[in-house]
């Protein structure tokens, strides 16, 4: 029971964090058709900018300013780079963001070194929110979750209830038509790219203080975020919320399970044979928990490429 409760809490909060990063990615893909390989780099950039600012000023200054800085970087990337290669096709846009991801990682290493930096939450937030089964549950984890929920609410209201949201959704569905009606579509694209980057930067600024802030964080999270976006359906915000929570729960539960294929065979009396085979048969779920998201992504891509909630192929 303790395992279930703690794993559920951790899973949901990790899922919400994944959602903060994947929301921008899926918005950008839905609108511009660009799968942004540099998106997780914005997450990393957010963490490092917030770390630097929290050293100079205050944790809260870092938390508020880092997303703005990252948004600025995102806007520059869209305006002066992506727009330039747009004429060469989607493959080149993909490759450009891929190259940018490499550059961001190396720049971080140049300025901050190869090892994790000491980015910490303020003392005021370092307390136990509640105690479950004699374990103190850190308040900061809940804080990460709350930030993600607020962000989702704001984003949802913005997209579904405001005039800006209508223009953005129109630009996503029929860009040519929206442009003919007098809307500045390149500006909308730039804005969406900037907002997406800011969301990733905010996620980095919040999560970096709890999880390690190191130059590998973009690579580690980047692939998982792709999984989320694909499983949820490229371009679907609700889909990526569901997929984020799913992947979050999957990964927090799978580390604690010692099931294996051989164990499955035990149930039908073939356990000894399966154990003698070794290899894949005896690997426990916990030891291969890293592979589960990729398997899920493969299955979704092959069976239903539109994802759980996507509507296009």
């Amino acid at each position: 029971m303790e395992f279930v409760v703690i794993s559920t809490l951790n899973g949901v909060i990790y899922g919400l964090l994944l959602f903060m990063v994947s929301a921008g990615l899926t918005l950008i893909f839905g609108m511009m058709g660009v799968l942004n390989f540099a998106h997780a780099s914005f997450y990393m950039l957010g963490a490092y900018v917030a770390y630097t600012l929290s050293g100079l000023f205050d944790f809260w200054v870092g938390l508020l300013v880092a997303p703005l800085v990252v948004a600025g970087v995102g806007i520059l990337v869209e305006r002066f780079m992506l727009r330039r290669v747009h004429a060469f096709g989607h493959a080149h846009e993909l490759l450009l963001t891929f190259g940018l991801a490499l550059i961001f990682e190396e720049l971080i290493k140049l300025f901050y070194g190869d090892f994790p930096v000491n980015y910490q939450m303020p003392e005021a937030l370092r307390f136990a929110a509640f105690t479950v089964f004699d374990t103190d549950y850190p308040f900061y984890r809940l804080f990460i979750g709350v930030v993600a929920v607020i962000m989702f609410a704001v984003l949802f209201v913005l997209l579904a209830r405001t005039r800006i949201g209508i223009v953005v959704r129109a630009a996503e569905r029929l860009p040519k038509m929206a442009e003919s009606l007098g809307h500045n579509i390149p500006l909308v694209f730039m804005g969406v790219f900037g907002v997406g980057a800011a969301l990733a930067g905010l996620a980095g600024a919040v999560a970096g203080a709890y999880f390690p802030t190191n130059p590998n964080m973009a690579l580690e999270l980047g692939v998982i975020v792709f999984v989320v976006v694909v499983v949820g359906g490229l371009g679907s915000l609700k889909g990526s919320l569901v997929a984020s929570l799913m992947i979050g729960l999957f990964s927090s539960f799978s580390i604690g399970l010692d099931w294996s294929l051989a164990g499955l065979f035990d149930l039908v009396g073939l356990g000894a044979w399966a154990h003698s085979l070794g290899g894949l048969m005896t690997m426990t779920v916990s030891s291969i928990s890293g592979t589960i998201p990729f398997l899920l992504m493969l299955i979704v891509l092959l069976v239903r490429p539109a994802g759980l909630m996507g509507d296009r192929n």
Binding site: G33, L35, M81, R84, V85, F88, G89, H90, A91, H92, L94, L95, L96, F98, G99, L100, L102, I103, E106, L107, K109, L110, F111, Y112, G113, L219, V223, F226, V227, V230, L234, G278, G279, L280, M283, S287, I288, G290, T291, F294, L295, M297, L298, L301, L302, P305
Partner: protein, 434 residues
């Protein structure tokens, strides 16, 4: 044309020069050859079939592990197998795994194809360190090359010639493949898949075959690496390996057959030559890649090809000036960027923080390029910044002049349309057929 002559000259040089080189350089050349083959195999997919794979490390790694398993069996004396034919194991493993993976991956196209290949490679990367029997766990597998037919395969030079032989033959086969009717069909698939289907061809089967062939040659490249290093571990499957081959291919130019080879050779040699001098080599690599994507999407090979094609019509007395100006500007910008990067690298290093504490919190001079610099002096930062700006202005001027001259060349009658470097066409519109 002169192409066969150039190829013959390169081959002769590759065969004749290495005995006179040091051990380190011989090793570097082995890596150059392996990277070249890997990049060309990768480019079979993107350049010919228009499929962008982000997980080619999977087939490279599978080839390496298969070869190591074979080497271990030979080492144990179970079977007698000629050492020079070891890469066959990599070829078979690459072909089989490539056919299976390709069957699924090519069910999708575009971004979705790239994501499937990425997921497959990540699966291997996540699984390999846990799978003791097949991939040797986190430590990986190791073995020894056995002597065969009077050759010991003990020296780097012997390994080099073995690699050269395999790479030369493989590249020839890959080139010949593009000339076959089936190779032409792959090109047609890239340009208009629907039309290919209407003509009665089975598009999916064709793509699976191309994918499998590409994976097979990647497997050979991996096998050669395993033969040379005698070890392999799960890091062969990492996204870093997949990324490198993408970089090589696109900087070299994916629309020209020998382009990827050029990119692989330049990058691998540079990595060997300057990796001792700088820690920022990967940063420069990324910068070069992004600049090529932005300003010369056809890559170095594309630029060379355009020049070769218009050679007769180029008036070098008018072009030489702007080219020299552009070269000077580019050189200044590069020098400034390198100086700033290296200086920042030193200043933000842990060692400098220690030096500052030693100097009582002040800013002691730092050393870059063997010369001490004062970090507070305006000269240290002003001069490179000025060089950067001057270089940029020169570069922009040269670019305008070059574009003007090239427009004249392009608009001349009876010449097939093709742009110069800065506005060369993308793969989908530019024909390789010429």
């Amino acid at each position: 044309m002169r192409t066969p002559l150039i190829i013959a000259a390169v081959l002769v040089a590759l065969a004749a020069v290495p005995p006179f080189l040091g051990l380190g350089l011989q090793n570097a050349l082995v890596n150059v050859l392996i990277a070249s083959l890997f990049a060309l195999a990768f480019n079979l997919l993107i350049g010919q079939a228009g499929l962008l794979s982000f997980g080619h490390a999977a087939y490279f790694g599978v080839g390496a592990f298969a070869t190591l398993h074979l080497m271990r069996i030979i080492e144990d004396g179970v079977i007698d197998f000629p050492t020079p034919l070891l890469p066959l194991a990599g070829a078979v493993a690459g072909l089989v795994v490539g056919a299976i993976a390709g069957f699924f991956a090519t069910m999708r196209s575009g971004v979705y194809f790239a994501l499937v290949t990425l997921a497959i490679a990540e699966l291997f990367h996540a699984l390999a360190p846990r799978w003791q029997g097949l991939f040797g766990g986190e430590a990986g597998l190791s073995s020894m090359r056995m002597p065969w037919g009077g050759i010991t395969f003990g020296s780097t030079l012997q390994v080099y010639y073995l690699t050269l032989g395999w790479v030369a033959i493989s590249i020839w086969v890959l080139w010949a493949y593009t000339r076959t009717p089936f190779g032409r069909l792959t090109l047609a698939l890239r340009d208009n898949e629907q039309r290919v289907r209407f003509l009665g061809y089975n598009a999916h089967a064709t793509k699976v075959i191309v994918f499998a062939v590409s994976a097979m040659f990647s497997g050979i490249a991996g096998a050669l690496q395993a033969t040379s290093n005698e070890v392999a571990n799960y890091s062969l499957f990492s996204s870093h390996v997949s990324a490198q081959v993408v970089l090589y291919t696109f900087v070299g130019g994916s629309i020209v057959f020998f382009g990827p080879l050029l990119g692989a050779a330049i990058f691998t040699l540079f990595a060997y030559l300057i990796s001792d001098l700088t820690r920022s080599w990967l940063l420069y690599q990324g910068l070069i890649f992004v600049l090529v994507m932005l300003y010369a999407p056809a890559g170095i090979g594309g630029i060379v090809q355009t020049h070769a094609r218009h050679w007769q019509r180029l008036d070098w007395s008018r072009l030489a000036g702007p080219y020299a100006l552009g070269g000077l500007g580019g050189g200044l910008v590069a020098a400034a960027v390198v100086f700033l990067t290296e200086s920042l690298g030193v200043l933000f290093d842990e060692a400098y923080a220690v030096a500052r504490r030693g100097a009582g919190g002040g800013y002691p001079p730092f050393e870059a390029f063997g010369i001490p610099w004062d970090p507070l002096s305006p000269v240290t930062w002003g001069v490179p910044l000025a060089l950067f700006v001057v270089g940029l202005v020169l570069l922009l001027r040269a670019r305008r002049a070059i574009a003007e001259r090239w427009d004249a060349v392009r608009s001349a009658p009876a010449v097939p349309a093709a742009g110069p470097g800065p506005d060369a066409r993308t793969a989908s519109t530019q024909q390789i057929a010429g």
